[in-house]
């Protein structure tokens, strides 16, 4: 009988997990069925929605039935189908064509003189969202809690949809420690290794992931590994904190957290200065979600309300390029590999929906908006114009809104080098993951760049950029901020605001206490 087989891998997220293997790719299994894009997908979503409404109508009271009948009739309206078709000719993406058609009609109704007509607007809004929900479809099948996910790679939406409270881990044949799932796994303290190379295991075979040493252990034969205790709670997170965090020599430091999944806000520690970065793309699983203003509004509102008085910075969708979004391939702008703000400006309908959701959410807390992958100052001006236009439209519809400060992520070397020219940015935040990639010309899968070889160059660039930022608020929210070994250099560069994954917060907090503001070690430490 074969003994346990230990495979060397790269640690992507610390911790040890054992459990039955869940094989993402079954041998011979056909590729997961993808929803057909284009008009057929929309038609199907409309049919699904009509079916749902018809079920709702059964047993509903007369008044509700009138509303439901009206909604069904709108979904079957040939004029809406025609207008959507016409928009698709110029616009190509069926989801946004349909949203734009319904939004135009909602706008007309809202502007009507007669109150009964105005009241219909919300019925249309409701079906708009119902169809967007149906378009988003059912998420990819989840796997049993406590399993070790084994596969070539893993979709962020799959990670987010899974219940990790029962333990479990991730072992990827390929993947990268800088990949999105690795980032999510570190934030949630899910043990993960990457780069194991292809290995064979049976579904349900006991597997261990050693995220500390970087290994996978396959228990061949009959040996069973006792299930491990569910996910380790980051030690020290319960320590008592006063709200003020200072360096050893008394300089105040802000320590915020990064969140990916809106649910992570529930664990917001009272001693945390707020949310320094919410990556909105992780709560957006598909183009249908990106088109869904109300869904986004609900997510942002929840985060802002939970944060209370503390500031929350939400980054606009950073999608495109190597950051895919289900359904995005139907958008022609993508063929050019655009990403971040350039994609948002090339597909302004995506930006406009999100801008409206953010403008409306801003009344519920202290919101700032951060733009991803900014390279040139005019990109900020153009996005600001979009916010202004959408704010005006919301005003005409008498919808509550507030203009948030709009700042930028500094993650493109061209921007970091020219930070003094970004007069229209309200604040800067260094995104070191991408900055590292672009400074060192490495891809996400580049193992060498993962090792921190590029760090000295990135730290020098940051130090120079901080000087160029003059009096504007500056923070750092990339992975580098969560690594105590870079803290002295970052403090020496003048950074006083750090935003890190919740699991990294205790380590960074105690490191800050032991350092002077110039990055030197405090006496007696």
């Amino acid at each position: 009988m074969a003994g346990p087989l230990r495979l060397k891998a790269k640690s992507a997220s610390p911790g040890i997990a054992s459990g039955p293997a869940f094989l993402a790719e079954r041998p011979g299994a056909p590729a997961a069925p993808r929803t057909a894009g284009g008009y057929a997908a929309l038609e199907k979503a409309i049919d699904v929605s009509i079916g749902e409404l018809e079920r709702l109508a059964e047993g509903a009271d007369a008044e509700s039935r009138d509303i439901i009948d009206f909604q069904i009739e709108v979904l079957r309206d040939p004029t809406i189908a025609e207008a959507t078709g016409a928009r698709m000719e110029t616009d190509a993406n069926v989801v946004f064509a349909w949203v734009a058609t319904l939004d135009a009609y909602i706008g007309e109704l809202e502007a009507a003189d007669e109150e009964p007509m105005q009241a219909r607007a919300v019925d249309i809004l409701d079906i708009k969202n119902r169809v967007l929900g149906a378009l988003a479809g059912t998420p990819i099948a989840d796997f049993p809690p406590g399993s070790v996910f084994v596969g070539k790679d893993m979709e962020p939406s799959r990670f987010l949809a899974h219940d990790w409270s029962k333990g479990g881990g991730i072992a990827l044949f390929a993947g990268s420690t800088a990949g999105h799932v690795a980032l999510l796994a570190r934030a949630k303290s899910v043990p993960m290794v990457v780069g194991t190379g292809r290995f064979s295991a049976m579904d349900g075979d006991p597997v261990s992931v050693d995220g500390n040493a970087g290994a996978v252990v396959l228990e061949a034969g009959s040996m069973l590994i006792p299930p491990l205790a569910p996910a380790q709670v980051p030690a020290g997170d319960t320590q008592t904190n006063d709200d003020e965090l200072h360096t050893a020599d008394g300089v105040p430091i802000l320590l915020s957290i990064n969140i990916n999944d809106p649910a992570e806000i529930d664990a917001l520690d009272p001693a945390t200065a707020g949310v320094g970065l919410m990556r909105s793309e992780f709560s957006t699983a598909s183009v249908a979600d990106a088109a869904n203003e109300e869904r986004q509004l609900a997510i942002y509102r929840r985060v802002l309300e939970q944060a209370g008085e503390r500031p929350v910075t939400i980054r606009m969708l950073d999608i495109g390029g190597d950051k895919p979004l289900d359904g995005l391939e139907d958008l022609p702008a993508l063929s050019s590999g655009l990403r971040g703000i350039r994609l948002l400006l090339a597909q302004p309908e995506i930006a406009r929906v999100q801008a409206r959701a953010l403008l409306r959410a801003a009344v519920f807390g202290r919101l700032s908006v951060m733009l991803p992958m900014v390279s040139f100052p005019d990109e900020i001006d153009r996005m600001r114009d979009i916010f202004r236009e959408e704010a005006e439209k919301l005003g005409r519809r008498s919808l509550l809104h507030r203009m948030p400060p709009i700042g930028m992520m500094v993650e493109v070397p061209a921007a970091a080098l020219m930070l003094d020219t970004f007069g229209s940015a309200a604040f800067f935040s260094f995104g070191t993951n991408d900055l590292t990639r672009y400074v060192s010309a490495s891809s996400r899968e580049d193992i060498d760049a993962d090792d921190g070889k590029a760090a000295p160059a990135v730290l020098r660039l940051i130090a120079e950029a901080v000087k160029l930022a003059a009096d504007k608020p500056v923070s750092i929210c990339g992975d580098m901020a969560g690594n105590p070994s870079y803290l002295p250099a970052l403090l020496a560069a003048g950074l006083r605001h750090f935003s890190v994954a919740p699991a990294r917060r205790p380590a960074i907090r105690s490191a800050i206490i032991g350092l002077n503001a110039d990055g030197t070690r405090a006496a007696g430490e």
Binding site: A62, E73, V74, R76, D77, I80, P116, R120
Partner: protein, 118 residues
């Protein structure tokens, strides 16, 4: 008016090739609040139950609206006393006209609470 097949001519028409039935009628809306949501639903549902094209023009307007589109019918703000012209083109056009006119004359069957007409 591009939809569907056309069959059976009933009257000699000047148009030589597609055999078509083309009917039109005029009716006054007597319903108290006009065509708000519920009557509009009843109207467009009945209109859609016919394979012919159905169009509506309000108060002498020469703008013909798609009678199967609830957003067009509701958007036309058809009030009490409005005169509707309804025209149908294609299969069962005459029946369609008769049924729609009847529906309006019966005040959209509102007294028959929530009865389906179509």
């Amino acid at each position: 008016m591009t939809s569907g097949l056309r069959i059976e001519k009933q009257e000699p028409e000047p148009l030589p090739e597609p055999f078509r039935v083309n009917c039109q009628t005029e009716v006054e809306v007597k319903h108290g609040v006009g065509l708000h949501a519920r009557p509009s639903v009843t109207f467009t549902r009945l209109a859609k139950s016919f394979p012919c094209s159905i169009e509506v023009a309000v108060n002498g307007s020469d703008v013909w609206l798609n009678g199967k589109s609830i957003i067009k019918i509701m958007g036309a703000r058809i009030r009490k006393g409005s005169i509707l012209r309804i025209r149908a083109d294609g299969i069962l056009a005459e029946e369609a006209i008769r049924a729609l006119k009847g529906l309006i004359e019966r005040n959209f069957d509102e007294e028959k609470k929530h009865g389906r007409t179509a």
